[in-house]
Symmetry: C2
Subunit: 430 residues, 2 copies
């Protein structure tokens, strides 16, 4: 057996505790697979006294986390502190500068600083790995970086946030309102006390920006991800979608159109024939479409102690085996800065739900407005009483541009016939 | 840009032609990803004159395939000849002996000789890769060898043969008989003129033996795979299964029970809650269950020119990147010879379909026979006229051992009350 791979763990929250447990429980198996043992040498976290359900007294405790980067007895720094900036990125920068490999689960840091850190790791001749940053236990970084590496990939999309998918599928099954399901999810611990990062789509946007770079060979571009969450999804939208043969999912989607990249995180209507429609509860899933392989679909648990630790340790095993190369799908100097497409240019079908005053002629006015904007109607459902006192109208368009639909919405708003905020969702026709 | 990775292609059938097309079409992208170009240096196949729809005149044609192993201008031999023995394995052995890396799509060869070849490659300090051998374009070898490497995996199973899944889902949708769907599939080119390897489960068994070794760290043991195919599946079985909340799928399943490994390829009843139930047409899919990651599900195209070429070239990119290690999930000296479990020891629920004479007292006799064997009945459907002139009875048991059910079947046969061949299928309760 070869010499052990020596690691330092920075951060001992849910994931850090899971990594310790995994390396304990599967110790012998991992040593056989990696060809050498993986050993924790030092640990560091904010609060030494917290009970993490695992014996940490075996490891050297370090109060100054940043000092982990300097230790001669450490081969890999595992960064599980979190946060896009601050101590996490400082530690990673100095660990790489010291020639140490880095494994991280930090999607925000990679989304913001991935290109810089990948370049630094290449210059230092060391590894930067982040399998746990996207879709938890699903080995999707590896699947795109390596498994689908032979393909031109023009589209990658998925369900990248388990909290949102849990909420949407609960709404679907029980006809419940968003706010009620969110409150229940918070009570059960499935949603954070401050759920903003999840339900407003920011967490999914971090992950999508990483997937897009891997898939397209583009420089990571988090700032261009158009992000909205699921707060505006009403029970009536889900019911209308079901009637039309769709399910509502928060989809992170990146695609190349012409010489531009579109990146969006938003609630969409997904046809039942698409595998994402069948992903329920807190599962994550990713679809990648390659020009030779066709459609690949991956599903698994996207968060939690076990799945995330599984991904962190998979990275460690790659490093122990000597099978780790550039952080992205190619050396960072080959990544191209590809510009972002205009949101309005997106062509496709749309779902538009409006609440309108229950008055004669309103429907005629709406349909005329859509016609004038060049939006042709595929189907229209008018039913039920909206909370605002008006009636709900759900419209599915034929293929058109997003700018045409938005133009129609602005015109409706201007005429005063629309009550409250219209809800616009993309329909995925693949 | 670094020096090219120089490959020799042995075998120019569907997959070989696909590899040439892929390396042409995605040439620049692959060079960026791999950090160096991948170039075909020499090609060889049985029939030089056949039109393969791609210009081969650019490459040096070699009549003596075995000479590819000796060439100084070749880094990797890509073996796409096929067959478990004969010229394929001879070429691979000599290529490895010459220190060349080998990439192959040959599931039969790996299932029969994988351990020997992996050991030889390790001793020669070179790579042996075979992503295309299992589930075509799905990067399942990589997902288990690397992505799930941190986990103890106790069960891996999947739909490993697209032809069988196509036939079963056609039967499901149209209520058609096996023989009719097979004939139609042959007419359309979805099934071979001699479909034995596919429909009798041998192709899936090769793939399963490879997955089991990767998942369990066991020496590959193709001889112990209990293999039956789908010839005995009747339209009535599929209808009964649907009524009971199941779909019939040809499942390759390997699991560790105690200190034994069970490997089976056979038609099963899959509950609608299991993702395999939703896999339709010629798609392949694999589920791996890890002790930390939980259930991972992968789906994609399992055969054909594009998906298989995608997997072959992914292996080449790994080699070009210098990211290839031992062929299995661990150095071959660490693989353990784990014995095969007794088929009869399998505990679970069973589906049993019988054709019996339409006579008073037969049902009483059957149920008594089952009771005497210790098999308790969960549900029973008696309906319709069997072709044999009797009536069909479909029984679902409570959990019991396979040996108890087989004992009951033998007793029924002995009593002469059963007409024709009873159909026994495992029910997957996960």
């Amino acid at each position: 057996m070869n010499s052990p791979l020596r690691i330092a763990l920075a951060g001992l929250g849910t994931v850090g505790g899971g990594v310790v447990k995994l390396l304990d429980e599967n110790r012998d198996l991992i040593a056989r697979r990696a060809g050498r043992p993986i050993e924790i040498v030092a640990i560091s976290a904010r609060d030494r006294s917290r009970d993490r359900g695992v014996d940490l007294s075996r490891f050297e405790w370090v109060d100054d986390t940043s000092s982990l980067a300097e230790r001669d007895d450490v081969d890999v720094v595992v960064e599980l502190i979190g946060g896009s900036d601050g101590p996490a990125v400082a530690l990673v920068r100095s660990a790489i500068a010291s020639g140490k490999a880095v494994v991280t689960a930090n999607k925000a840091m990679i989304a913001h600083h991935g290109l810089e850190l990948a370049g630094a790791a290449e210059r230092a001749g060391t590894a930067l790995k982040y399998e746990a940053a996207v879709a938890g236990g699903i080995p999707i970084i590896k699947a795109i970086r390596e498994g689908a590496a032979a393909n031109r990939i023009d589209r990658v999309y998925g369900i990248l946030n388990g909290t949102c998918n849990y909420i949407l599928t609960e709404m679907e099954e029980n006809g419940a309102a968003f706010a009620d399901v969110l409150a229940e999810a918070q009570r059960l611990g499935y949603a954070e006390a401050d759920p903003t990062f999840d339900i407003d789509g920011i967490d999914a946007a971090h992950k999508l920006a990483i997937l897009a770079s891997l898939a397209f060979g583009s420089e990571i571009d988090f700032a261009s991800v158009l992000t909205s969450g699921i707060r505006a999804v009403a029970a009536t939208d889900i019911a209308h979608a079901a009637e039309l043969g769709f399910r509502v999912r928060l989809v992170g989607l990146a695609e190349v159109v012409g010489d531009r990249i579109h990146q969006r995180v938003h609630a969409c209507l997904v046809p039942l024939t698409n595998p994402l429609a069948k992903v329920s509860g807190s599962l994550n899933a990713v679809v990648a479409e390659g020009n030779f392989v066709g459609r690949l679909f991956f599903e698994g648990r996207g968060a939690g102690e076990g799945p995330t630790a599984s991904a962190v340790v998979a990275d460690l095993i790659d490093i122990a085996r000597g099978e780790a190369g550039p952080a992205f799908s190619m050396p960072s100097e080959h990544l191209e800065p590809i510009g972002a497409g205009e949101a309005g240019d997106r062509r496709g079908r749309y779902y538009l739900r409006l609440s309108v005053a229950d008055e004669t002629g309103v429907l005629a006015e709406l349909t005329a407005t859509l016609r004038d904007a060049g939006v042709s109607i595929d189907s229209l459902i008018q039913r039920g009483q909206a909370e605002s006192g008006g009636v709900f109208i759900a419209i599915v368009s034929h293929e058109t541009s997003e700018s045409a639909v938005r133009e129609a919405i602005e015109a409706m708003r201007a005429s005063g016939s629309v009550l409250g905020e219209p809800m616009l969702m993309h329909i995925l026709d693949f």
